[in-house]
């Protein structure tokens, strides 16, 4: 852990306060001049702070939207429309919040993939990694419940499908589902509790973010070379170097964000959510928001029971197996630090690992596409057999799990890695010379 460097302000009043509550020291030691950081962080390291800023934007826009929104099935849909049409700047705040969720996920996904490529999950940063996954899970719950609030058709049916997932749990599943609903279907009680929890969870996320940053302070930032900091020559202070780099990245990111907010506010949403919820009519196809599509594809890809073939003995029915696969796809990442035991952290020195990393990216793109299609879509016909989008999803799912359970453990044993530089400074200076 980097040394704690106390700040001693010149101003007497500030010094008096600092002695009693050292907030300046805290800032100085987390993002300040007193925070030595690896000198070679590239732009992929921007996405942590971008995610943090998106969280702040979501909380701010969400709090003001809550001042106008009504969580009641009779008026929820209209109250959202009223925000957009009549509330001052509502036309700006609502798309900012809705697209903000998408951009929060964009930042977090790139942040996670950066961690996957550069081995950021490896010792001594396992807890840092796991806290990030906790944040991700909380984000998913928050985003799901937020999407229900406008009470459109996708809101209602998305909520119905997701809450029904819990009924797959043996013995207590139906009771859990009733507990979530507060009735016999998704209805007014469900909407009200989702609003309450949607308001609460971001603050829980904020708490875990603080732990995440604390864990980063303890284990230090990773870096693109994956070698630990050895001397002062390997480091530069966070401020001004990375504050400026982060600020520049933020500018670019916000320009893209603003494009969507102002010029394409509904591009990432589903048109059916502008139809008020109707519990008697299911839309043609229920699709989640884009950031859930790969997981939705995994859920839908399981259409077979797990049991003894040619008998009626079933251990795990298809529905439960799909639910397990979907949750496992994320929970698996918690044990990633032990699945990939290669001593070399960075993908830059792992040629085979890098190839599989890009296959994983392609796999995720395919799963995202699959999740957005109708399950009956036939992609190809081979010898009279129909190959549907669900079958493609199953292949994608199999690769996803194989990547983590089979490929990475084998790679950590057999891969011939490239020589790792002695230190950050030697590598940086060599490349500069």
């Amino acid at each position: 852990m980097a040394e704690w460097e106390a700040v001693k302000p010149q101003n007497k009043a500030l010094a008096w306060f600092e002695e009693r509550l050292p907030v300046l020291s805290l800032v100085n030691n987390v993002v300040g001049a007193g925070t030595p950081s690896p000198r070679n962080l590239n732009y992929w390291w921007n996405f942590g702070s971008l995610a943090g800023i998106m969280l702040v934007i979501q909380i701010l826009s969400g709090i003001v939207l809550a001042m106008h929104y009504t969580p009641d099935t009779a008026v929820a849909f209209d109250s959202v429309e009223r925000i957009v049409r009549d509330v001052n700047y509502g036309w700006l705040l609502r798309p900012m919040h809705a697209n903000g969720a998408s951009f929060f996920f964009i930042a977090v996904y790139i942040h996670i993939l950066r961690g996957l490529y550069y081995g950021s999950y490896k010792a001594p940063r396992e807890v840092l990694w796991m806290l990030g996954l906790v944040i991700f899970l909380l984000m998913m719950a928050t985003a799901f419940m937020g999407y229900v609030l406008p009470w459109g058709q996708m809101s209602f049916w998305g909520a119905t499908v997701i809450t029904n997932l819990f009924s797959a749990i043996p013995l207590v599943g139906e009771d859990i589902r009733t507990l979530l609903w507060g009735g016999f279907s998704v209805d007014n009680p469900t909407l009200k509790r989702f609003f309450s929890l949607h308001f609460l969870l971001p603050f829980i996320i904020l708490g875990v973010v603080i732990l995440h940053i604390w864990a980063k302070k303890v284990s230090d930032s990773g870096n693109p070379l994956g070698v630990e900091v050895k001397t002062g020559a390997d480091q530069i202070p966070f401020h001004p170097f990375y504050t400026v780099k982060d600020a520049f990245g933020l500018g670019v990111f916000l320009v893209i964000f603003a494009y969507f907010v102002f010029f394409a506010p509904d591009a990432l949403g589903h048109p059916d959510n502008y139809i008020p919820a109707n519990s008697l009519v299911t839309p043609d196809s229920i699709v989640p928001e884009w950031y859930f599509l790969p997981f939705y594809a995994i859920l839908r890809s399981i259409t077979f029971d797990l049991g003894i073939p040619f008998t009626d003995i079933i251990f795990v029915p298809a529905k439960l197996l799909g639910v397990i696969a979907m949750f496992a796809s994320i929970l698996l990442l918690f044990v990633l630090p032990w699945l990939d035991s290669s001593k070399v952290r960075s993908g830059a020195f792992r040629p085979a690992f890098t190839k599989f990393f890009w296959i994983l990216i392609v796999d995720l793109v395919i799963l995202t596409w699959v999740g957005g299609q109708k399950p009956s879509l036939v992609i190809a016909q081979v010898a009279g057999m129909e190959f549907t989008v669900v079958d493609l999803g199953l292949l994608g799912t199999i690769y996803y799990f194989s990547h983590f359970i089979i490929v990475l453990p084998l790679l950590s044993r057999f891969e011939k890695t490239l020589p790792v530089p002695e230190s950050i400074s030697s590598a940086v200076i060599k490349s500069a010379g």
């Binding site: 049916w157 119905t160 499908v161 809450t163 029904n164 997932l165 009733t178 507990l179 979530l180 609903w181 507060g182 009735g183 016999f184 279907s185 998704v186 209805d187 009680p189 509790r193 519990s279 008697l280 009519v281 299911t282 043609d284 196809s285 229920i286 839908r300 259409t303 029915p317 298809a318 529905k319 799909g322 109708k374 399950p375 009956s376």
Partner: protein
């Protein structure tokens, strides 16, 4: 306590104080857990929600081959007036070949074989299958078809093809008279 004589028996000795500490901690744990229950149970259906549990439906206006959908407990209920062919198709099926083995007789009320009453939510993930309205796709077995994930139900509301694990549920209902049922 260092001044009690128990301490002189060695640090490992179990003391009265340990006993008090452990029981007190356990009891506070039990108390705290019990105190959580109201916070959990408030999420379950409230009394007024439970009170809306029955509905009466007049069947006289539903012609043979037609079906209606009504709302019961926030969920759609399909009521189908089956034709003779639909009934015989449902009864001709070999029960042992079904995913969820139920004969047609178990799913209707005796003497009212033309009426099929099922809860209209797919047992997969709760979408409302289509097939109630006359122009709808009724699926490969002439009953209902769930567009979400492709489950096909037959004229008895039984799952025949697709990911759904069970037949469409039959709600509790009774015939008040020949043209009136009470659901719930």
């Amino acid at each position: 306590m260092s001044t009690t004589k128990h301490a002189t028996e060695g640090d490992d000795a179990v003391t009265r104080r340990d006993m008090l500490n452990i029981t007190a901690t356990c009891m506070s744990g039990v108390g705290a857990t019990l105190a959580l229950w109201p916070f959990v149970h408030q999420m379950n259906p409230a009394e007024d929600t439970l009170a809306l549990a029955t509905v009466e439906v007049d069947l006289s206006s539903i012609g043979a081959g037609e079906a209606i959908v009504i709302k019961w407990q926030g969920k759609p209920v399909f009521i189908r007036h089956r034709t003779a062919e639909e009934i015989s198709a449902a009864q001709a099926v070999e029960v042992s070949t079904l995913v969820d083995k139920e004969s047609d007789d178990e799913r209707i009320k005796e003497g009212h074989g033309q009426w099929l009453v099922v809860i209209g939510t797919c047992t997969h993930l709760g979408c409302v299958p289509v097939g109630t309205k006359s122009g709808d796709d009724k699926g490969e077995y002439g009953g209902w078809y769930c567009p979400c994930h492709g489950s096909h139900y037959d004229t008895s509301g039984r799952i025949r093809k697709g990911p759904a694990p069970r037949n469409l549920d039959v709600p509790e209902y009774v015939f008040a008279n020949d043209t009136m049922i009470k659901i719930g």
